[in-house]
C-alpha cells in the first residue's frame, strides 16, 4: 500500500518535470513571438533608431548589421585557430603529454565566464593595443569565446575519419598536405561548416563580451573594423534596462531569436546535405 503511494508520487514527479520543460520552452517562444510580432515591419528592420530617447522609435538596422559583422569576424578568427589546432593535434602531434596538456588548456578556456573574456578584451585589445571599442575588438573577443566550441568539434570530426582510407592515401606516396587538402577536408567539410555555423549563433547571442569591447548604445552602420557598433543582444539590454521602449525591446528580442533560428536551420540543412551526399 505504501508502495503504491510512493509509486504514484514518483510518477507524478517525473511527469511534472518533463512537462515543465516543454511548457517553459513553449511559453518562452510564444511570449516573445506574440509580443514582438507586432513590432516587426520593414521600417523596423531596415532603418536607424530614432526618437527621444534614442531607440524609442525607428528601427534596429545598425544593430542587425553590427551583430552579423561581429559574428563573421568571430567565426573567421576562431575557425582559423581552431581548425589549425585540431589539425595539429590529430595529424602532427606525436606526444601524448602535449596532447593532454593542450586539451586541458582548451577545456579551461571553455569554462571561463564570458564577462571575464570581456575584461580581457577590454584591457588587452581596447586599451593596450589601442583598438578602442570596435568591431575588431569585439570580434576577436567573441572569437576567443567560441574557439573551444569549434576546436572540440573539428577535432572529433577529424579523428572519426576512417584511418584505413587515410593510410591508403599515404600508401600511394602522396604527401600529408595533399591528403588533408584533397581527401580529408572534402570528407569533413560539412561537419566543420556546421560546427562553425552553430558557434556563430552562439557568438551572436552573447552580450557580456561585447559590452566592454564593441557595443555602444547608438552607432551607425560601421564604416570600418575599427568603428564601434550596435549589436542586438546589447540593444535589447539597453532598451529594457534603460526603460526606453518595451515595444521595441520585444521586437528586438524576436528578431534576435529569428536570426538564431535561421542559423540553426542552416546548420541542420548542412547536416541534411551531408546525409544526402553519402
Amino acid at each position: 500500500m505504501r508502495e503504491r503511494l510512493k509509486d504514484n508520487l514518483f510518477r507524478t514527479w517525473i511527469v511534472l518535470s518533463t512537462s515543465l520543460v516543454f511548457i517553459i520552452v513553449v511559453y518562452m517562444f510564444l511570449y516573445i513571438f506574440i509580443n514582438g510580432a507586432g513590432t516587426i515591419s520593414r521600417e523596423f528592420l531596415f532603418s536607424d533608431p530614432k526618437g527621444m530617447p534614442m531607440g524609442s522609435e525607428g528601427g534596429i538596422f545598425p544593430a542587425i548589421v553590427g551583430s552579423l559583422l561581429l559574428m563573421l569576424i568571430a567565426c573567421v578568427f576562431a575557425s582559423i585557430l581552431a581548425i589549425s589546432t585540431a589539425i595539429y593535434l590529430v595529424f602532427y602531434c606525436s606526444s601524448e603529454r602535449v596532447k593532454r596538456l593542450i586539451h586541458l588548456i582548451i577545456q579551461c578556456m571553455s569554462g571561463v565566464p564570458s564577462i571575464i573574456l570581456g575584461l580581457f578584451g577590454y584591457t588587452s585589445l581596447v586599451l593596450h593595443l589601442g583598438l578602442g571599442r570596435s568591431l575588431i575588438s569585439g570580434g576577436i573577443t567573441l572569437g576567443v569565446m567560441i574557439f573551444p566550441y569549434i576546436q572540440v568539434r573539428v577535432e572529433k570530426t577529424l579523428i572519426e575519419v576512417d584511418k584505413s582510407v587515410v593510410d591508403a592515401s599515404y600508401a600511394l606516396g602522396v604527401s600529408k598536405v595533399y591528403t588533408l587538402y584533397k581527401l580529408i577536408f572534402p570528407m569533413c567539410k560539412f561537419d566543420i561548416v556546421s560546427a562553425i555555423t552553430l558557434a556563430g549563433g552562439f557568438a551572436m547571442g552573447a552580450a557580456a563580451p561585447i559590452i566592454l569591447t564593441a557595443a555602444v548604445i547608438f552607432a551607425p552602420v560601421p564604416e570600418s573594423i575599427f568603428s564601434p557598433v550596435m549589436a542586438l543582444p546589447f540593444h535589447l539590454y539597453i532598451l529594457t534596462g534603460e526603460g526606453i521602449s518595451l515595444e521595441k525591446a520585444y521586437g528586438t528580442a524576436l528578431v534576435l531569436m529569428l536570426i538564431l533560428l535561421i542559423i540553426n536551420i542552416i546548420s541542420a540543412l548542412i547536416n541534411f546535405t551531408r546525409k544526402e551526399h553519402e
Binding site: E3, W13, Y88, V112, P113, F147, A206, Y237, T240
Partner: protein, 287 residues
C-alpha cells in the same frame, strides 16, 4: 618544391596552435596583472572578507564578501530549483522513452541551451520579476529568488545531459533482472537507479554551480544589483554583473578599475576550485 610547401604548412599550423594555446595564458595573465595593482593597495584578505562595496565614497571602500555570497547564493537557488526538474526529466529520458521521443526532448533541451542569456534576462524581468511585484506587492520583484528562477531554466540542459548518459547505462544494465523479480519500474528506479546515479548527480550539481556563477546577463537583469547581504527575497549582486555594470563607469587606472579586475580574479579562483572538485568527483571518487 613540394617539400618546401609541406614544411611551410607544418610550421604555420604549429604557430597557429601555439598562438591559440597562449591566448588562454594571456587571459589569465592580463586579469592577474591588473588585479595585482589592486592587491598592492588592499590586502586580498580584506577584499574578500570585508562587507562594504562603495566605490564612489567617501570613503572608498572596496570589499566583496557580500557579492561573493550573492554569487554563490543565486547559483544555489538556481540549482535547488533545477535539480529536481532535471533529474526527473533525465529519469524519463533514460527509462521511459523511445528513440524518437528521446530525440525530441533532447532537441528541446538543446533549444533551451541555445537561447541567449540576455533573452533569459529579458523574459525574467518581464515575467518573473513582474509576477512577484504584482502578486505579492513587493516594492521590487528583483531578488535572489528571481535570479535563481531564471538561472534554473538555464541550468536545466546541463543537469539533464550530465545525468542522462549514465542513467541510461545503469538502466540498461539492471532493468531486465529487476523486472524478472516482478518489481515495478518506479521501485527499481527509486532503489537502484537513483542511488547508483549519485556520482553523476553530484557532478551535475558542481558543473551547474560553475556555470551559474559565471552567468552574467540573465542574472544581472533580475537581481537588483545591490551589494548588500543577500536574502532570498532581497536584492543582491553577483561578481559577473558587478563587473559588467561598473566597468564602463570606472575610470581607467583608478583603484575602482583594478578592484573590478580583482573581483574577476577571485571569481576565476572560485571556478578553479569548483572545477577541481568536479575533476575529483569524476575520476577519483568512489561512491
Amino acid at each position: 618544391m613540394r617539400k618546401i610547401r609541406e614544411k611551410i604548412f607544418e610550421i604555420l599550423i604549429k604557430i597557429l596552435t601555439a598562438f591559440s594555446v597562449l591566448i588562454l595564458a594571456f587571459v589569465v595573465i592580463f586579469i592577474f596583472k591588473e588585479s595585482l595593482t589592486f592587491f598592492k593597495e588592499v590586502s586580498i584578505w580584506k577584499f574578500i572578507t570585508g562587507r562594504k562595496w562603495n566605490p564612489l565614497g567617501p570613503p572608498e571602500e572596496l570589499s566583496i564578501l557580500n557579492i561573493i555570497c550573492g554569487t554563490v547564493y543565486v547559483s544555489l537557488v538556481g540549482i535547488a530549483i533545477a535539480l529536481p526538474i532535471g533529474i526527473g526529466t533525465a529519469v524519463v529520458l533514460s527509462c521511459y522513452t523511445n528513440e524518437n521521443i528521446k530525440r525530441l526532448i533532447r532537441g528541446i533541451l538543446d533549444i533551451l541551451a541555445g537561447v541567449p542569456s540576455v533573452v533569459y534576462g529579458f523574459i525574467g524581468l518581464l515575467v518573473v520579476v513582474k509576477f512577484f511585484e504584482v502578486n505579492f506587492s513587493f516594492a521590487s520583484g528583483e531578488s535572489v529568488l528571481s535570479g535563481g528562477i531564471v538561472l534554473s531554466v538555464m541550468l536545466l540542459p546541463f543537469i539533464v545531459s550530465t545525468c542522462d548518459e549514465s542513467m541510461e547505462k545503469i538502466y540498461r544494465e539492471y532493468s531486465q533482472s529487476s523486472r524478472a523479480l516482478g518489481v515495478s519500474k518506479g521501485y527499481m528506479i527509486r532503489n537502484i537507479l537513483l542511488p547508483a546515479s549519485k556520482r553523476s548527480i553530484l557532478a551535475s550539481v558542481v558543473l551547474a554551480l560553475g556555470r551559474g556563477m559565471g552567468e552574467t546577463m540573465a542574472v544581472m537583469m533580475v537581481i537588483g544589483n545591490a551589494p548588500i547581504i543577500p536574502r532570498l527575497l532581497g536584492k543582491t549582486q553577483t561578481i559577473p554583473s558587478l563587473i559588467a555594470l561598473e566597468m564602463g563607469m570606472a575610470e581607467v587606472g583608478s583603484l575602482h578599475y583594478h578592484a573590478l579586475f580583482a573581483s574577476g580574479f577571485v571569481l576565476m579562483i572560485m571556478l578553479l576550485i569548483i572545477n577541481g572538485l568536479l575533476y575529483f568527483i569524476k575520476n577519483k571518487m568512489d561512491i
